[in-house]
Amino acid sequence: MIELDTTDRHLLRELARDATQSASALGRKLGLSQPAAWRRIRRLYDSGIIKGQRLDLDKEKLGFGVTVFLGVKLATKARGSTADFERAVAAIPEVQTVEHILGLYDYRLRVVARDITDFERVLRRRLMMLPGVGEIEANVLLSEERRPGPIG
């Protein structure tokens, strides 16, 4: 594990907001020379602390008006073959994330759809057809906030 100092933490926070900022722009913001900023940024990427970049898209403007979180419980007899379920669910384009969890459900899925009718199609034709699916609970997303996290 790599120890980060205050400057690294500032850089991390800035890059999580906008990863396209140049080393010189970030250096100016944080009072670092361009090469010093560049070295620190490189280290954040190379050490795997920054594992990649993600586009923040306005889903509604792109026609995806509905996001639903599903809790999926596998049927008891399917518990042995979770790999089949995982492979099949990850291949559905409308499924954005799949998380294996412990507790009330076995998996949590994040599903996008154009509208409720479209969601119903995905649910009936795709999700309920998955191998081993038992119970499904749906919660429709109303609002979402991503927080910067404990960067300091």
Binding site: M1, I2, L4, L12, L15, A16, R17, D18, A19, T20, L44, S47, G48, I49, I50, K51, G52, Q53, R54, L55, D56, L57, D58, K59, K61, L62, F64, F69, E86, V89, A90, E94, V95, Q96, T97, V98, E99, H100, I101, L102, G103, L104, Y105, Y107, R110, V112, E137, N139, V140, L141, L142, S143, E144, E145, R146, R147, G149, P150, I151, G152
Partner: protein, 151 residues
């Protein structure tokens, strides 16, 4: 509003947001100038809000991730506002979602280990206002997490 070219650019860009502008133009089969112009337009219209670095919290020593599903006491008129305001002040909370469904809210919380989680849970989570019920789900693994839209 978006044409096939825009969609093609976004489709490639979504899969690898760290791609250089020339690689992206190449993949999408357009000239770098066209690609830059299209992306600019999508930024201006608010479709493309940002390109963010994704932090691997495990690499920073946060081994535990818990999903807290919360039901609020809706007899309190300010339940949602008060709760959200307080939850924003907990640094270990990464995501806050509100729902229409069986649960009202979900918090995604990270911690260094179970002892740290226990401490956050007791001192920062259980003290959040207007909770009627809380349920914890522990993350085991991420099977898919690219959050790519099917454009």
């Amino acid at each position: 509003m978006l044409d096939d070219t825009d969609r093609r650019i976004l489709r490639h860009f979504q899969h690898d947001a760290g791609m250089s502008p020339t690689d992206l133009a190449d993949k999408a089969g357009v000239t770098p100038a066209t690609c830059a112009r299209r992306l600019d337009r999508m930024r201006q219209s608010g479709i493309l809000r940002a390109n963010r670095a994704v932090i691997d919290w495990r690499a920073l020593g946060y081994e535990v991730e818990v999903s807290l599903r919360i039901t609020l006491d809706k007899t309190q008129p300010r339940a949602f506002d008060d709760f959200l305001e307080a939850a924003r002040n907990v640094p270990e909370v990464l995501e806050i979602q509100t729902f229409l469904g069986r649960v009202d809210l979900r918090l995604s919380v990270i911690a260094r280990d179970m002892a740290h989680y226990q401490q956050i849970y007791r001192s920062a989570i259980l003290t959040l206002p207007h909770m009627a019920d809380i349920e914890a789900l522990m993350h085991v693994a991420r099977i898919k997490s690219d959050e790519v839209l099917p454009l």
